[in-house]
């Protein structure tokens, strides 16, 4: 609170008695008073509580890392770094390797993120740059409906509706996405995928056919799952581009596309990039839909249509039935997943800070 606001708040505060009793204050009487001991105490307590709770979350993260590491320790000792480069997961023979799962996790996340970013950014631009109202305005004037004033609020409402609909995608449980992927996405992408394989099979990305589950359907579903995150945050970033900048861009005679692509998107790049990093985090950790769609096969392939495995799906599939040795190995997997997520977030933050520093002069 600024001093001015605090004063205003105290003016509206009537200690004791009915409101209105003390509206007329005699001249020379100061109703401002220093905060009571109770208020000071409560203020301090509040500050300490928030501090404690804030630290608690940090401690919680370390607790999680600590307990995972502790349980992973035996298998880290046994398998060492060979664990990261091994390709077979065979609990019968206590052989564990997770290279295919690491590759599959990164491959599916990056592919899903690429698709999701293209569509998410497009949605964000469409919803923030007044495309809808421009289109509807010309339609109204063509139909000579411009004098009906209630129509003027229509584009805004439709934009809001679209925005809510996209955000609603985030509320769908991932099991439902998985089922939808099996019964809708896979049959839908199978014919074009197999056509590509039979005609352009020499390209590594098309080197296998798509029979059922595989990387492509998994990535498509993943893209839809990260879409709300990317579009909502990117839209907020675009809306926050300073009006001065907008006016200046158009004032200099930039066309709408020049303004959007050369001025607005670069200005909002920090926010957009943040959205992408958040989406990446979500994609890396996504479990259920990928366990249902990626095929859970320990295969490393360039092909978009090959079945694959991911770290999170490996954990979900093997945990319930794992014996002691395998639980240790799975904890190692969890640690690797945690490390990958951490590295991605750190890289993201660093790039974000650099981008922000570059744009400092604009604000």
């Amino acid at each position: 609170m600024t001093p001015g606001e605090a004063g205003a708040a105290r003016d509206n505060f009537h200690p004791g008695g009915r409101p209105g009793d003390d509206l007329i204050v005699p001249k020379g009487v100061d109703i401002a008073q220093p905060p009571s001991a109770y208020e000071i105490g409560a203020d301090r307590l509040f500050r300490r509580c928030t501090l404690a709770v804030a630290w608690l979350t940090v401690i919680l993260v370390f607790c999680v890392i600590f307990s995972i590491t502790r349980q992973a320790m035996p298998s880290i000792r046994t398998y060492g770094l060979g664990f990261l480069s091994g390709t077979a997961w065979d609990s019968n023979r206590a052989q564990f390797g997770i290279l295919p799962a690491i590759v599959g996790t990164l491959y599916s996340s990056i592919l899903g993120l690429a698709i999701g970013t293209v569509f998410g950014l497009a949605i964000a631009i469409f919803l923030s740059e007044g495309f809808l109202s421009a289109g509807l305005d010309s339609a109204f004037s063509f139909l000579r409906l411009s004098e009906y004033s209630w129509l003027n609020s229509l584009p805004g409402r439709i934009e809001n509706l679209l925005k809510i609909t996209v955000e609603l995608l985030a509320a769908i449980p991932s099991v439902v996405y998985g089922l939808w992927g099996i019964f809708v996405v896979i049959p839908f992408v199978r014919p074009p995928a197999n056509w590509l394989h039979s005609h352009l099979g020499w390209i590594p990305f098309f080197s296998t056919g798509l029979s059922g589950p595989g990387l492509l359907p998994a990535s498509i579903v993943l893209a839809i799952m990260v879409l709300p995150t990317i579009s909502a945050i990117s839209r907020d970033a675009l809306v926050a581009v300073p009006p001065k900048l907008r006016e200046a861009a158009f004032g200099m005679g930039a066309t709408r596309w020049e303004a959007i692509l050369a001025i607005f998107v670069p200005t909002a790049a920090t926010g957009i990039f943040g959205a992408v990093i958040l989406g990446f985090g979500r994609a890396l950790g996504e479990t259920m839909a990928l366990a249902m769609l990626a095929g859970n096969a320990n295969i490393i392939s360039w092909s978009l249509f090959s079945p694959a495995n991911t770290l999170a799906a490996l954990l979900a599939n093997h945990f319930p039935e794992a014996d002691k040795i395998e639980v240790g190995a799975l904890m190692y997997v969890a640690l690797v997943l945690l490390a990958i997520t951490l590295v991605v977030n750190i890289i993201g933050t660093v790039i974000l800070q650099r981008a922000e520093a570059g744009l400092q002069g604009l604000r």
Binding site: V53, S67, Q71, W89, G209, G212, G295, N296
Partner: protein, 354 residues
């Protein structure tokens, strides 16, 4: 303002408390422990195999209808989880498709009684577009398919057993279980018993390293993948294949005969094996001309001694119900009813529980 201020302290304390608890709880305690006990009602807690779960649930609801004061919670978390939680004394009974080994049983200090409650067959369900209504698979053929050596449906090894049947030039997609499971154990034990290449290769276990396969979670996951993948073949429980109306391959048994999976051939397979005194038998490759080759019992795991005599009495009564009236639900749900002499043997074994 004032209300918010007064609420602040309790809320903050609560958050701190929750934080402590979350932080302190370790992974060993992740099992689902049951509903709070009502005053005089008896609640039995069980965990285990997913395969017999539909039948057990049916028994337990029917039993609850007849005895409203008895509530039985069965969590189908899988055979491995069933054995593990049983060993840790977290449940009143466990259930598993793979009977406990001697070493596992020795670790339980209250003693173990293994009771086969029902039996099932494992079938190879397939999806061949415009394919034959009946597909015969020789032992070499289905071992070869799961080893990844036979990759096309029109492979000579498959065609030889199916004279006059037109097989498409489609790639075979092998579908297996992604999670550890008793079904996988029974199926891979059978493959190990009939093929040295399998025994020295992937081997037998609740989860093995299948060469060249895609994997789905649980019987439903495998079923969905087979149905949605042209050219797929996978192993599922007979009951699931019947309910989802998937075509099942006719398999060659030890005598060289091709046998369809149904209740009669499954029952013959069970009858071909004599149960020992501890009621534990692994039927990896039954003998007889008309037997279906891949069948298994599924076991309830009970302690020999219960602290509360009431728990023991109730459990015995529930199991008795399952052995008698309960067996009549088996056929509808796709399970093989126990042969009469097995029911007698289990009833006798039930007396060991106290």
């Amino acid at each position: 303002m004032r209300i918010a201020r007064n609420l602040l302290l309790p809320v903050a304390l609560l958050l701190i408390g929750v934080g402590y608890m979350t932080c302190g709880s370790s992974i060993e305690a992740r099992s689902g422990l049951g509903v709070a006990l009502a005053a005089d009602a008896i609640t039995l807690q069980g965990t285990g195999a997913t395969f017999p779960a539909p039948l057990y649930q049916k028994w337990f609801t029917e039993y609850n209808k007849a005895h409203p004061d008895v509530q039985i919670n069965y969590q189908a978390l899988g055979s491995g989880a069933g054995v593990k939680q049983f060993q840790q004394n977290l449940v009143d009974f466990g259930a598993s498709d793979a009977a406990m080994t001697d070493a596992e049983m020795a670790a339980v200090k209250d003693g173990v009684v293994l009771l086969p409650m029902t039996a099932g067959a494992i079938v190879l369900a397939y999806n061949i577009p415009d394919g034959p209504s009946e597909l015969k698979l020789s032992r070499e053929a289905y071992v070869g398919i799961f080893l990844g050596k036979i990759t096309q449906w029109n492979d000579p090894a498959i065609a030889k057993a199916n004279p006059g049947v037109k097989l498409p030039d489609t790639k075979i997609s092998v579908v297996v279980r992604s999670d550890g499971s008793g079904t996988t154990f029974v199926f891979t034990s059978h493959l190990s018993a009939i093929s040295d290449a399998w025994k020295s290769g992937p081997g037998a276990g609740k989860s093995v390293n299948f060469p060249a396969a895609v994997a789905g979670k649980g019987n439903p996951g495998v079923t969905a993948l087979i149905k949605e993948t042209p050219g797929a073949i996978g192993y599922v429980e007979y009951g699931y294949a019947v309910q989802t109306r998937m075509p099942m391959a006719v398999l060659q048994n030890k005598s060289g005969k091709y046998v369809k999976a149904d209740l009669a051939t499954g029952k013959d397979a069970l009858a071909s094996v004599e149960l020992p005194a501890n009621l534990r038998a692994w039927i990896t490759d039954p003998t007889g001309p008309g037997v279906y080759p891949i069948v298994t019992y599924t076991w309830l795991l009970c302690y020999r001694k219960y602290k509360d005599p009431k728990t023991a009495a109730t459990l015995k009564s529930v199991i008795q119900y399952g052995l008698t009236q309960g067996q009549s639900f088996s056929v509808d749900l796709g399970y093989i009813p126990l042969p009469a002499k097995v029911v007698d043997a289990v009833t006798r074994a039930l007396q060991q529980i106290s």
